[in-house]
């Protein structure tokens, strides 16, 4: 169950902060279009193969790129709308007793987790760039996929940090 007060507070803050609003719009457009394109590409590939015996070359690989792009651009939205999956057995009671402290406590773990993943993805991207790693079918530079994805993940971590700071100074409603 999501905390509506926190979600409402965060969204209100989205409206107020230019940085968050800009990030939100970029992430929403990119992730939504990636998903829409995944659907259209899969459909077109199947139709092409069955009706014209002409599947789209490299469709499987493009779907893989779209998947990773959509997941990590969507991660920032998950942070902003607090849509992470969590076990709400004791935390609502703790949250009621110590609202801001509890929100900051849980958000710090998310920030650290996303930060570590973002840095590791960035390292892999740099490594791919240095070694000139290409994808198997389309032979595209893999770094061109991994590096933007790592930026999306780091942006999600940054948005989480922004929420932590704003919760601490009471700009975002705590649970």
């Amino acid at each position: 169950m999501k905390n509506e007060a926190n979600e409402a507070g965060t969204l209100e803050a989205v409206e107020k902060s230019t940085f968050v609003r800009f990030s939100h719009n970029i992430l929403e457009w990119f992730s939504s279009l990636s998903l829409l394109f995944m659907m259209l590409l899969t459909f077109a590939d199947v139709i092409g193969r069955y009706f014209w015996n002409a599947p789209i070359f490299g469709a499987t690989e493009v779907l893989q790129f779209l998947l990773i792009g959509m997941i990590f651009s969507g991660m920032g939205l998950v942070v902003l709308y607090d849509k992470h999956i969590s076990v709400d057995i004791f935390s609502p009671a703790i949250g009621r007793r110590f609202p801001r402290l509890h929100a900051i406590y849980t958000d710090i773990f998310t920030f650290v987790g996303l930060g570590i993943v973002g840095v590791q993805l960035f390292r892999i991207g740099i490594n791919d760039l240095e070694r000139n790693v290409t994808t198997i079918v389309l032979e595209l530079p893999r770094a061109a996929i991994i590096l933007p994805v790592s930026i999306f993940c780091l942006l999600a971590a940054l948005l989480q940090l922004w929420i932590i700071i704003n919760t601490a100074v009471k700009k975002v409603a705590a649970p």
């Binding site: 992470h84 709400d88 993805l121």
Partner: protein
């Protein structure tokens, strides 16, 4: 084994304290891998594992099926499904409750989300049942239990995740889920029949309801029925892979929504796409976390020690599956379906392979166990969704209302454990 058990304890404590489950398992998993392999290898393994998972073609089926469900949800087809079911079952005692179960099954078959099914049906079926003075417990219990059908009736995201983790054919898993899904529908209807026979005042006779537009409703659900048959028939007939079927399903669902007057502007597309993106990203965070955690558990040697323990206990495959199901039921009281699957399956997979257990059959059993977790206290998510959608209901009353359905699921679970042919009949 001690380190692995400490790892499990750490994940549970962090999750209980409110840390997001994906993040908790990722950080504990990373710490465990670092403990066994050192800092450099630990971080390298984490990055590589996440890239491999996020670029796994098999996983593309998840967002596409979620998108299909979201489009169907936004096309407001649930009213037609409920009315069509009502027209078929209105003559039965407790007809509205029977209609709710069938409508839940139909809606979840194309929507795939248990929570969305429970929330939608609460809005549609609960007022109808309250109008005819059904007991709140029966009404809410039926909806909460009916909502769980989405997890086993294909296409189901938990079945996809199980298929990928256990390296099983997703198409076969979908086909194997059909009969158990139908059995659950029948057992829920039998439960309702028993309740209304025992307590007739729980479901007073409704007479002829003029508000049901039978012909219109039946016509309205035909495209959904066609889409369901296309998706599952395509997988069963090996015409499509599950990913292709998901793409076709999402496209078809978008056409259905368009034909019903939705998705006509960019603004209309924005909400369902964002909703599907966020559901996917949050599920993937859990997948990343639990798969990193599974690496730690593998490094700890726990799964192989379990093989030894099971061999010493001389358990039969059925006995082994019963033990795992009991652990899953206990976990279901706390974790959601995906958490159960990702924490339980990797740990027991070597034991199951060693015991020569049919992994398609086991997949259905473990998904059914996780379905039970949606309505068992203290964290029965479907119960909370019903309560959140209808705040005037008493939570205790809803939990009391789902108890007969918990037994109903347990009966089906027992039948599936002791008669595996029910699951495997179409896949062999």
């Amino acid at each position: 084994m001690t380190v692995a058990l400490l790892g499990f304890l750490a994940v549970i404590l962090l999750a209980f304290s409110g840390v997001r489950i994906g993040i908790a398992s990722l950080l504990v998993g990373l710490s465990g891998v670092i403990y066994y392999r050192g800092v450099k290898s630990g971080f390298a393994l984490l990055g590589q594992q996440i890239v491999d998972d996020a670029m796994n073609y098999n996983f593309t089926v998840i967002p596409l099926f979620i998108l299909m469900g979201v489009f169907i949800y936004h096309s407001q087809i649930s009213d037609d499904l409920f009315n069509a079911a009502h027209s078929a079952f209105s003559r039965l005692k407790g007809g509205l409750a029977h209609s709710t179960v069938v409508a839940c099954a139909g809606f979840s078959a194309v929507c795939g989300s248990s929570l969305a099914t429970a929330a939608t049906m609460t809005k549609i079926a609960l007022p109808a049942m309250q109008r005819y003075k059904y007991s709140n417990g029966l009404a809410a219990g039926t909806i909460a239990a009916g909502g769980t059908l989405g997890i086993i009736i294909p296409p189901s995201v938990p079945l996809v995740i199980y298929g990928i983790v256990a390296e099983q054919d997703i198409g076969k898993l979908f086909i194997a889920g059909i009969i158990p899904g139908l059995l659950l529908v029948l057992s829920f209807m039998a439960t309702i029949a028993l309740i209304v026979r025992w307590k007739p005042d729980y479901a007073p006779s409704q007479g002829k309801d003029e508000s049901v537009a039978v012909a219109g409703s039946a016509k309205g659900i035909l495209p959904v029925l066609f889409l369901f048959i296309l998706v599952l028939g395509g997988i069963y007939g090996s015409i499509f892979t599950p990913t292709e079927a998901a793409g076709i399903g999402a496209f078809g669902a978008a056409l259905i929504a368009l034909s019903r007057g939705y998705l006509r502007s960019v603004k209309d597309w924005r909400a369902p796409l964002s909703e599907a993106v966020m559901s996917t990203a949050s599920i993937f965070m859990v997948i990343f976390g639990t798969l990193v955690f599974a690496q730690f558990i593998n490094l700890s040697g726990l799964p192989y020690e379990l093989v030894g323990v099971v061999e010493r206990m001389d358990l039969s495959p059925t006995g082994l599956v019963i033990c795992i199901a009991l652990i899953g039921i206990a976990m279901g009281m706390v974790f959601d379906a995906i958490g159960i699957l990702l924490l339980l399956v990797p740990v027991f997979l070597p034991v199951l392979i060693d015991a020569d257990v049919n992994l398609i059959w086991f997949g259905i059993i473990v998904v059914l166990v996780s379905e039970l977790g949606l309505i068992t206290p203290p964290v029965g998510m479907n119960v909370f969704v019903v309560k959140a959608t209808a705040p005037d209901l008493d939570l205790t009353e809803v939990f009391r209302g789902v108890i007969p359905f918990v037994f109903s699921i347990l009966v089906v679970l027992t039948a599936l454990i002791f008669v595996p042919a029910v699951v495997t009949v179409f896949i062999e």
